[in-house]
């Protein structure tokens, strides 16, 4: 499965909401950069595509310490675009199915297998943990039927897997890009994203016992 699907990690942003003065891929959690945590969790995936923009050279150097067989994809317009643009650019020349993976997302190691063993399209969601959540609504078939800024039972965290042929260029967010293609099977995950400093402290606590 992991050789068939590409994973697109979006690391192009400036990390302004977090306020640690650097792109999120480079922030340290227990002495390890966030991108290192992600690459260790995704070590069984063959086609990893890392979208870079702000601090591109630093991210490249950090990744090359861990593995050199990734494809770096430039989002040169990172200042004016959001994750939807990075996901599109990372997916355009990838495998048929692409898994979007936000650069600020950590998934419990046991749930990584679940993701990589799931056939076809899916949308990852979790219980609500982060300060500035986008919510998902599910139907009784456990399919994601909509996203919402206002309310919902669960938090949209990604990763999400979709056929790359369905994607178009957008300056907006990934969830807006995926929305026209719902419903898509939901996948409940222990997923944690880091948007704010409080998220950062909370995630550092959660992952301290993870074994990779």
């Amino acid at each position: 499965m992991s050789s068939i699907k590409s994973v697109v990690i979006s690391c192009a942003g400036i990390g302004s909401r977090l306020g640690l003065g650097q792109t999120k891929a480079l922030i340290k959690l227990h002495g390890k950069s966030l991108i290192q945590w992600q690459l260790e969790l995704l070590k069984d995936v063959e086609d990893i595509r890392i979208v870079i923009g702000y601090q591109a050279n630093e991210v490249v150097n950090e990744v090359l310490k861990i593995r050199d067989d990734v494809v770096f994809v430039y989002n040169h317009d990172y200042f004016n675009t959001k994750t939807g643009a990075s996901f599109y650019l990372g997916s355009k020349d990838a495998n048929e199915y692409v898994i979007e993976w936000d650069g600020d997302l950590l998934i419990h190691p046991e749930d990584i297998k679940k993701i990589l063993n799931t056939e076809g399209e899916f949308m990852g969601y979790s219980t609500i943990t982060s300060d500035e959540a986008v919510f998902v609504k599910l139907n009784n078939l456990n399919e994601v039927i909509s996203f919402s800024r206002e309310n919902g039972d669960f938090e949209w965290t990604g990763p999400g897997c979709i056929l790359k042929s369905k994607l178009n260029y957008t300056r907006g967010n990934v969830f807006e890009q995926i929305e026209p293609h719902l419903p898509i099977k939901g996948l409940m995950l222990r997923a944690y994203d880091i948007d704010t400093y409080d998220d950062y402290k909370r995630v550092e606590e959660v992952i301290k016992h993870w074994v990779l």
Partner: protein
């Protein structure tokens, strides 16, 4: 669709001009020029003329024999062998030096041209502008994917449809990164990307 490859350091796993210089023991004159050219500190055309002036005195047939045996990136070589019709080389290197090597690689090649007399390069007749090759294929309606690593690939990469910067034997020139879509440091990953583009 056309895949246009730079030759030195992209298809070959050794830079050819330093190889010639080492073989004929003129490396001191060449090495600093090559290093500064890759960094973009000396304009490519000036550097090329100066290097040919040094190396042109060497016997052309021996240079061609030497370059025929240059080491290649085996997976990239295989990709070209499997997709000969879609692959093209664009190199500033001289026809008289690389013809045997190009025959070995087995795809079409655009290069610079020299006048040879008495087995020596006596004049440069034409210096290839790689961007002209990109334009030529785009005008024929082809989607052009350009794969290179050096400052002299910059304009070709800027106008190509997909620009891939490679850093397999050394980091690509910083000057090309603003025009790069994909940056790749591993031959297997590069070939995976090329196959995805097919």
């Amino acid at each position: 669709m056309k895949f246009i490859f730079d030759l030195d350091g992209t298809i070959t796993s050794q830079e050819t001009l330093p190889l010639i210089a080492n073989h004929f023991n003129v490396q001191e004159e060449i090495s600093s020029l090559t290093a500064e050219t890759i960094k973009g500190n000396i304009p490519f055309i000036e550097s090329f003329i100066r290097r040919v002036h040094i190396l042109g005195k060497l016997p052309v047939d021996e240079v061609a024999d030497l370059l025929e045996k240059v080491k290649l990136h085996s997976l990239i070589f295989e990709f070209i062998q499997s997709n000969r019709e879609n692959c093209v080389i664009a190199t500033g290197n001289l026809d008289c030096w690389i013809q045997k090597l190009v025959d070995r690689i087995g795809c079409k090649c655009y290069n610079s041209e020299a006048l040879v007399e008495n087995n020596k390069v006596v004049a440069i007749n034409k210096i290839l502008r790689k961007e002209d090759i990109v334009k030529k294929y785009q005008e024929m309606g082809e989607k052009v994917i350009y794969i290179g690593d050096g400052n002299n690939d910059m304009e070709a990469m800027r106008i190509s449809d997909v620009a891939i910067a490679v850093g397999i034997i050394h980091h690509p020139a910083i000057s090309i990164l603003p025009f790069t879509n994909y940056l790749i440091f591993n031959e297997k990953a590069l070939c995976r990307q090329l196959n995805q583009l097919l």
